[in-house]
């Protein structure tokens, strides 16, 4: 049996906005994602060239070498708009927060031997600075990129990196007894310790990239696939007994990584598949930045681990249709 509440029917004149209807077909209801994202960025009749970069308009397809006939092809498979993004992250974080409570209650970090704490401060906590660099890159792609389909998930990703930098910061504070000394030590390692210098150089080199899609490739296939993946997933053995509580406290990072990859892989695949030229350009960038990331990881992880990690990224790039 069904219960039917009687309502008055009002025949709508149209289902959605014109620019959305032209993409999905007249008379079809649009999703919230479609209304939030499709054709939102202005494309025409700009008034003034930016004082800080007069060779381009603020929104300009010429800011990257890759050419798309339509920048609304690389859509977000997660269909994030602001509401769904925030709700997803609030849920992910709630679970991470429970883990913090658990680890704190059981004193799982506090009870670790000092040598292990030092190891974590030197080998894990400095990664918060790498997240901060990644945050800058994703903000840069958001401001510099073309088309809301690709730029709006970038500000979400920037928010994610800030959030992860703060999760790692909290781990640092757990390890140093909430004094901040551990964070200082970790920053010193980031600035001066030989093992981190390749990684710091890599991220600094990306911070000055002008081609925003090259930056996207460098971040996704170099920084994310090689460096972050190794730091979070390649050190379990070295962390020993600490690896379990660390996995718990970085559950957000691991959820994020799966989520981000779904989107960034799809973007790279779609843009590379657009044309022979795009494929060649994106492949060259991928090759260059995976190699740079391998070099960067070598002092941190050793040549063999760095190579294995970079090869994993190369395999993935091939699956996305790139020639490496």
């Amino acid at each position: 049996m069904t219960v039917e509440i009687k309502t008055i029917d009002f025949e709508p004149k149209r289902q959605t906005f014109g620019h959305v209807a032209r993409r999905i077909g007249e008379g079809k209801p649009a999703t919230r994602y479609q209304e939030a994202v499709l054709d939102v960025q202005a494309t025409a009749n700009f008034h003034y060239k930016p004082l800080w970069e007069p060779e381009y308009w603020a929104y300009d397809t010429a800011k990257t070498k890759v050419v798309m006939q339509d920048w609304y092809k690389p859509l977000d498979p997660r269909q994030y708009y602001y509401a769904t993004y925030n709700i997803s992250r609030a849920n992910m974080n709630q679970s991470n927060e429970r883990n913090f409570t658990f680890v704190e209650d059981k004193e799982l970090l506090e009870k670790l031997p000092q040598a292990t704490k030092d190891l974590l401060i030197n080998r894990l906590v400095p990664v918060r600075h790498l997240h901060w660099g990644a945050n800058m890159n994703m903000s840069e792609i958001c401001q510099r990129g073309y088309g809301t389909a690709i730029t709006s998930p970038c500000i979400f990703s920037a928010g994610d990196h800030l959030g992860m930098a703060q999760i790692i910061g909290r781990i640092g504070l757990e390890l140093d007894g909430q004094t901040g000394d551990g964070l200082e030590t970790a920053k010193d390692a980031w600035m001066n310790d030989a093992s981190w210098q390749g990684i710091r150089k890599l991220i600094e080199d990306t911070l000055v990239l002008k081609d925003w899609f090259e930056l996207f490739v460098a971040q996704a296939l170099g920084v994310n696939a090689v460096i972050f993946d190794y730091i979070y997933n390649g050190q379990d053995e070295a962390f020993g007994a600490a690896s379990l509580p660390i996995s718990m406290l970085t559950e957000f990072v691991s959820d994020w990584s799966k989520d981000e990859v779904k989107w960034s892989d799809s973007v790279i695949k779609v843009v590379a598949a657009e044309s022979v030229e795009n494929k060649a350009t994106v492949s060259a960038w991928a090759k260059q930045w995976i190699a740079a990331a391998q070099d960067a990881l070598t002092p941190f992880a050793g040549a063999d681990n760095a190579k294995a990690q970079a090869d994993k990224a190369r395999e993935k790039a091939k699956k996305l249709g790139l020639e490496i």
């Binding site: 008055i8 009002f10 004149k13 149209r14 959605t16 906005f17 649009a30 209304e35 939030a36 960025q41 202005a42 494309t43 025409a44 009749n45 700009f46 008034h47 003034y48 060239k49 930016p50 004082l51 800080w52 603020a58 929104y59 708009y81 602001y82 509401a83 925030n86 709700i87 992250r89 609030a90 849920n91 974080n93 704190e104 004193e107 918060r128 997240h131 901060w132 903000s139 958001c142 401001q143 730029t151 709006s152 500000i155 979400f156 928010g159 994610d160 800030l162 703060q166 999760i167 909290r170 504070l173 007894g177 909430q178 901040g180 964070l183 710091r200 600094e204 080199d205 911070l207 000055v208």
Partner: protein, 505 residues
Amino acid sequence: MAVKKMGLKQKYAHLTRGLDWETSYQKMDDVFPYDQFEGIKITDWSKWEDPFRLTMDSYWKFQAEKERKLYAVIDAFAQNNGQLNVSDARYINVLKLFLTGVSPLEYQAHRGFAFTGRHMRGVGPRIAAQMQSLDELRHFQTQAHTISHYNKFFDGIAEFQHMHDRVWYLSVPKSFFDDARASGPFEFMIAIGFAFEYVLTNLLFVPFMSGAAYNGDMSTVTFGFSAQSDESRHMTLGIEVIKFLLEQHPDNLPIVQKWVDKWFWRGFKVLGLVAMMMDYMLPKKVMSWKEAWEIYFTEAGGSLFTDLERYGLKVPKYADVATEMAEHISHQNWAVFYQYTHAAAFHTWTPDKEHLDWLSEKYPNTFDKYYRPRWEMWAKMDEEGKRFYNMALPQLCQTCQIPMAYTEPGDPTQISFRCTEWNGEMYHFCSDGCKDIFDDEPEKYAQSWLPVHQIFQGNCGGPTVPDVLNWYRLNAGADNMDYVGSPDEQIWNSWKGKAPAEAAE
């Protein structure tokens, strides 16, 4: 023993300030290439006071909670056909103006704050700007989702994105934001963060949301309440920016003063659309534009600038002219749209007697003397079948891009004209304020994409009005012209006549 939780402030300091580092493999000036050319001197970024201390985990939590509630209301509104409860279908024209004129600016703000959130050298302001970038994306998207339901039934909404880039009066808000986006990061923060979000937000955001509340628009007002806490964060960022710049170096004062003067005037001209909305378009009035100006600019702005005096900052230049204009601007703007109703994507009407009496009461110094006779004459002409249309294309101000319909300070019977010769060409302005802005940066404002010039140059679909409307994707006969006789009126009357009868079945 569990570790004692830190206070939010202490935790925030640990989790943000320490993130940044002095780059050494690349020069800092290459990493931050845009924060020097404006001449602003920052001696110590660490002196920045965080205006709000939100870590990302709290941000996600608060914002997700607000979004869950907001979308529940938007869904309920659509399910229950909440559009039936608005005061009158004339009210929908306010939403048309908002979605075509204001929502795209929210999107522009999102991208602009992503720019400053990347390119200011200090970590504190960068994080605050990034959160504002996220918020502004939220505001664009929730506005589109809220008004989407109205779009299903009413005309003039569907092509808001296309129109924003093309339609003559929408180049006023568009050029305003393009101007800010084309400025350096510090000017952007003063233009949008301070002048727009702090000084003028109560004259933009608040009137639209109060208008929604007074006119039974439950979904828009719910958006308004939901965005309130975002807006107050944006205001605290705006005030912190200006204090920070002024405290950092005395050389910053003349630069900041120039920006405050410029952006006050730019903002004031854009707000003329809000003035007209409040005085003419809301079926149930909240207050007059003049009253709003007195409360939110003269009084609130007055105490703000008194507070800023200790830094040497003065009340914006021409604030007195703007205050005098508060007696006139709504009447002059609505008269422009009435004359050009055939080229507007919302409906116009002449005020009825009750409305005229309200305006007479609210504007005792000017309305009966200058404006009431005109509305009465136009109403009479309309009755006689001679409804007045202005078929000549208007001259536009080179800076604010508004048709030259404003009057001289001190003489409301004279149209105000100013001009400047630059690089062998003559440029025209509606006011001293707009002329000053041009004279200070002629290379910038000579570039303006002026809709009327563009039509004459053949860049807008063709030489005739129908050609241009077609190019605007303006559905003539539905989107434009007077409310009386429009499809909007028709559908509204059919609901109001029919709905109760059917419900009683």
